[in-house]
Symmetry: C2
Subunit: 410 residues, 2 copies
Amino acid sequence: MSGRAFDFGSLFAPGPAPAAGRFSGFPRYNFVGGHNDPDAVPVDDLIAAASSVLAREGRTLATYGLQSGPQGYRPLREFICRKVAARGEIQCGPDDILVTSGSLQGLDLVNEVLLQPGDTVLTEQLTYGGALTRLARKGVEVVGIPLDEEGLRVDALRATLEELRRRGVRPKFLYTIPTVQNPTGAIMGLERRRAVLAAAAEYDIAIFEDECYADLVWSGERPPALRALDTDGRVVHIGSFSKSIAPALRTGYVVADWPVMSRLLACKSDGGSAALEQMVLAEFCARHFDAHVETLNQGLQVKLQALVDALGEQFGTAAEFTVPPGGIFLWLTLPAEVDTAALAPKALAEGIAYNPGPEWSTDAAPARHSLRLCFAHPSVEAIRDGVARLAEVCRRETGVPERIANVDRS
Amino acid sequence: MSGRAFDFGSLFAPGPAPAAGRFSGFPRYNFVGGHNDPDAVPVDDLIAAASSVLAREGRTLATYGLQSGPQGYRPLREFICRKVAARGEIQCGPDDILVTSGSLQGLDLVNEVLLQPGDTVLTEQLTYGGALTRLARKGVEVVGIPLDEEGLRVDALRATLEELRRRGVRPKFLYTIPTVQNPTGAIMGLERRRAVLAAAAEYDIAIFEDECYADLVWSGERPPALRALDTDGRVVHIGSFSKSIAPALRTGYVVADWPVMSRLLACKSDGGSAALEQMVLAEFCARHFDAHVETLNQGLQVKLQALVDALGEQFGTAAEFTVPPGGIFLWLTLPAEVDTAALAPKALAEGIAYNPGPEWSTDAAPARHSLRLCFAHPSVEAIRDGVARLAEVCRRETGVPERIANVDRS
């Protein structure tokens, strides 16, 4: 519209930088974010679920909170209780569950209830980038605990806790992703979980456990959740349906006791999370969750294999990674010549998007040569072509990987 | 669970008071909030819409933002453009629209982008209570502008702006609900809208226009939105599907130009609003919106009439109100003996819930004897019985209304 004379520029409060530009679609080789496999969306069963739940309860859309109140659609909370019991050994009731608008909202609510500027929080040294940006925005000090192949290292955790105690600092909580860690894919074993809880008890800290990826373990076997092993009530637990069903449904949950839950509720002033998602998920999951996740996991393993094969063919020994035991991400480390943040825009210009390592690390330096690849969303063909193109861009810009003569690059 | 030794009490950040207790269902005579008419939820057409849109596009649930990006499902934005053009004369394109998780999120985002503690905001003296609590929580000074039967008074607006200018204060914006004002139901006429815009131009302030109730005008006639009349680009506009379709769907929208929109997007870090709602609403509304709203409005008028009749029968001359020209609320003023905030818990003990006036007023005193009744949700029978009971409780507690001998109260 012409003649827009009013200047909002003088009115803006300080905040995040404005969005750079309009959405222009996805890159051709889209390895970023937590997008899922379009082929795995259970469309027919979701349609059936939507039809039956709306026919039975559609009238309840007329009230905020349906007939269930602010903690969310009760049948969904009941399903979540069964799921976390069967898969994570968490014993809880529907009143211990808060349905959130994605686990992102769970993250925001827990942070809002517990954190003030100047507080200290412990995280894994490599962790979910969205958590790091939120903690930074809150003015919180973040200390990253190094990981090994099983996740966060207890010796490092204890050393950090002792050092902080010496300085008179009590961290508000340890934020940990113990089952299919983001980005490394590690699964923390039972003994280590007990050791983490013991350290938390000794230093009297809370634990904020994020199991958003935990339903996607190929073998179907995973240790009990920290919340299940904890006997002191120090663990707040979040989960999600974004990875097991579909991210656009924006439905996650928090498991917490009433002192924390009552404050989460006081902060959740949104009139309730979207009801249709909750109703359809409850209806679908009650019948189909296990079979769906099994099918999804099989498909994800096929894609992971394609990625692993492509990395081997295109990068050879230049690609260092552990094959994840589940989930949708692979954490790739390249040689020291490669600055993955600097490479990212060059790759994007060729249609390849990935998440540069430093965005997933509490300290940029250890992750400078690493990147995270999401293999769930692109097709097998896009995975192969995308990795081949990435290798070319990388070679052009950094000299690695060296050309492998016997691979056809056409 | 027993043995919960960990004390979160020492960890909580300052924040809202914890939720008082668990949800225990709705009161029998539920006149609070913006709940809608269960009979008017278009269940069958929503089922059909869900089936067709999921069959066609269900795969897109695999990506955050579907295929439309962070501003929301494009067909829904396109529908919103058609709707605000047809009903409010706003000319805009899909890129001027941000779909939000209810208009509440729109309110929060606009406040986040524009407000800092110590800022001044103008509102109608009687206004949406949720806006007042949010502004208070942000540490913003709120100045209420008195209303008459057409909404906010321009002479009072100008006097306030002049006084503030004299004190060196430039308000960040005027928050106004010009079409079916909440709680009074007033519709601001065309001339007054022009006068409000002229005052805003003279004092160079922004306007935050909330038209959440505007589709529910009985006559179907309403003046153009302030955003439509504005030629300077000073109006940010929000709307909602909560009142026209169903509140539990949590879907609203903001209409704004790119300087504001780009900052709203930067603050909207939720991974997108729930997708299923957006898809189903777009599919349903494209075919059925006008016919549905007409049916809804007819049903609401029936309920309003029942309320008006009941108030006349039970309260007689003690009840002072203007019959609203649309919407779901009636603003009732009782005699000076009645303190509606003090009466509310007594009424609730008898199963009657209403919103006491002071919660909807920038200054408690002028609203002390008033209350807001939502007539959309209760049945006609519940409206009659609820008003009768309310009159009894009121008489018992305050002496008014006097008993009207010829009405059967059994």
